[in-house]
């Protein structure tokens, strides 16, 4: 039996009542994100890795880079694939086995945010057109669940990619061969930052925690790039957003996202050769 945590009515009424007064149950401002802590190089054997704490949510991301066959329709570009997994110890609701739709959505939203921002210049990862390219795989493991896994996984993947070192491979005859001892920084063009907002009643809150996540009517995850342009958006939940609310959300995603982006950028600058 898949057990689903049901939020108790006492907590639900407390959250909605406090939001009615313009306050949040955990004392944060409506547009205030929980503290973000990023540690890079969390997995020594990975090409790039990061461990991100978003409040009590914790995610570890690892990047693996190796030669692969390109997709048939884009033979002149490398491959980027982002996955996500929630470990059974992370939350009582999580079971082992194939991912449920929510986890599949998590992986897709994180993947889309990074892919559509064009963070990695995939055209620089080609070994031989239509034959062999470098594949970049970013795998997220959620260690602890306290809501808003979208942003935590996104920051972890972005920080891991930014600090990743790509092993050098070249074509020798028909097959790619490793050039021992040589590696280079990932070709990063921009730093995406995703911001998830929840709608509870008529209020919009940034970075919902697990309790808020359980009572929200709708959510929207907006990813912006370094220029402050929106490059990906995902809406979930049964309720909807008005036009004005969406405009407000996109403004918030730019302002909140820019602060996190600086944090990720600083982590990258400490590791990357180009600063």
């Amino acid at each position: 039996m898949v057990h689903k945590t049901i939020i108790d009515e006492l907590t639900r009424s407390k959250i909605t009542k406090m939001l009615g007064d313009g306050r949040r149950a955990d004392g944060r401002g409506m547009e205030e994100q929980r503290p973000v802590r990023i540690e890079t190089g969390a997995i020594p054997k990975a090409s790039g890795s990061a461990r991100v704490f978003l409040g009590n949510t914790e995610v570890v991301a690892g990047v693996k880079i190796q030669p692969d066959r390109p997709f048939p329709d884009v033979g002149d570009r490398g491959i980027f694939i982002c996955t996500a997994e929630i470990l059974p110890l992370a939350h009582p609701d999580i079971e082992t086995g194939p991912p449920n739709p929510a986890v599949i959505e998590l992986a897709r939203v994180v993947d889309r945010g990074i892919r559509e921002s064009g963070m990695i210049d995939l055209s620089q990862l080609v070994l031989e057109k239509n034959k062999s390219v470098m594949g970049v795989f970013a795998d997220n493991s959620v260690i602890d669940v306290d809501g808003n896994l979208f942003d935590a996984c996104s920051y972890a993947s972005t920080a891991a990619l930014l600090t990743a070192r790509i092993p050098k491979w070249e074509m020798r005859g028909d097959a790619p061969a490793r050039v021992e001892g040589e590696e280079y920084d990932a070709p990063v063009t921009t730093i995406p930052a995703s911001v998830t907002m929840a709608k509870i009643g008529d209020s919009i809150v940034v970075d919902p925690n697990q309790d808020e996540w359980s009572v929200m009517d709708a959510r929207v995850t907006i990813t912006t790039n370094s220029d402050g342009n929106v490059c990906a958006l995902q809406k979930g939940g049964s309720s909807g957003f008005t036009y004005d609310e969406l405009v407000r959300c996109s403004e918030l995603s730019v302002s909140v996202g820019s602060r996190v982006r600086e944090q990720i950028r600083a982590k990258g600058a400490a590791v990357r050769g180009d600063g």
Binding site: I6, E9, L10, T11
Partner: protein, 224 residues
């Protein structure tokens, strides 16, 4: 140290070799009574038990528990009681003897997510805990704030003859319904009192195994 009344134990530690009855979180191995959990051992009268530092609630008959409705069948509600067992509250307990599974809608009284104060009426190895609300001060909880602590630490929250809980209630002007399963519902008119009471519960949860915790809670309550 074997034979002391209270000692910190790890699984496998010998608590005593005396003629005692092994109770919760202990096991008899020949003449030795061993701990099976990390916690504090307790020798009382003719029995030995270990109060674990962490873990779920193990139901006992007559315990007062706070439960959360998670589901219902046509005859009973299922309540989460912070345990590996699901608490069952029969519909006839709420609707009375003329309950009809066809005519009465269980959700009209208790819906998913509602909190309930109940008592364990029956529980043994052959059945899940049977709950009842047929007593004074039992039933649905409409207001308050839910806090929680490890079930083994509930006695520390109560204190000797209820001294700690009384101190919290008086200084915070709050009422605490403390379930033996570690869930606590706090009600207070004053938001600051509520926060203070929550902080006290959290302090006890984090430091119940340390010396002088009651005094530390008291000084926190006095200084604010």
């Amino acid at each position: 140290m074997a034979g002391a009344r209270h000692q910190n134990v790890m699984p496998g530690d010998v608590i005593t070799t005396g003629p005692y009855r092994p109770e919760e979180h202990t096991v008899l191995d020949g003449k030795r009574i061993l701990a099976t959990a990390v916690g504090v051992s307790e020798i009382r009268d003719d029995s030995v038990r270990v109060v674990p530092l962490a873990g779920m609630y193990y139901p006992r008959v007559k315990d007062f528990v706070i439960g959360k409705v998670v589901s219902h069948t046509s005859l009973s509600w299922e309540l989460e009681i912070n345990s590996c067992y699901v608490g069952f509250l029969p519909a006839s307990d709420v609707f009375g003897r003329d309950f009809s599974a066809h005519a009465d809608d269980l959700t009209s009284h208790l819906a998913k997510g509602d909190m309930v104060a109940a008592r364990v009426a029956n529980f043994d190895r052959t059945r899940d805990p049977l709950l009842t609300v047929q007593d004074r001060d039992l039933g649905k909880i409409d207001i308050g704030e839910l806090a929680s602590l490890a079930p083994g630490k509930v006695p520390h929250l109560i204190g000797k003859n209820g001294s700690t809980i009384r101190a919290i209630e008086e200084s915070c002007r709050a009422t605490l319904a403390v379930g033996d399963n570690g869930w606590v519902v706090i009600t207070a008119d004053d938001p600051d009192g509520l926060l203070k009471a929550e902080r006290a519960v959290r302090m006890i949860d984090e430091g119940a195994h340390e010396a002088g915790i009651s005094e530390r809670v008291r000084s926190m309550l006095e200084t604010g």
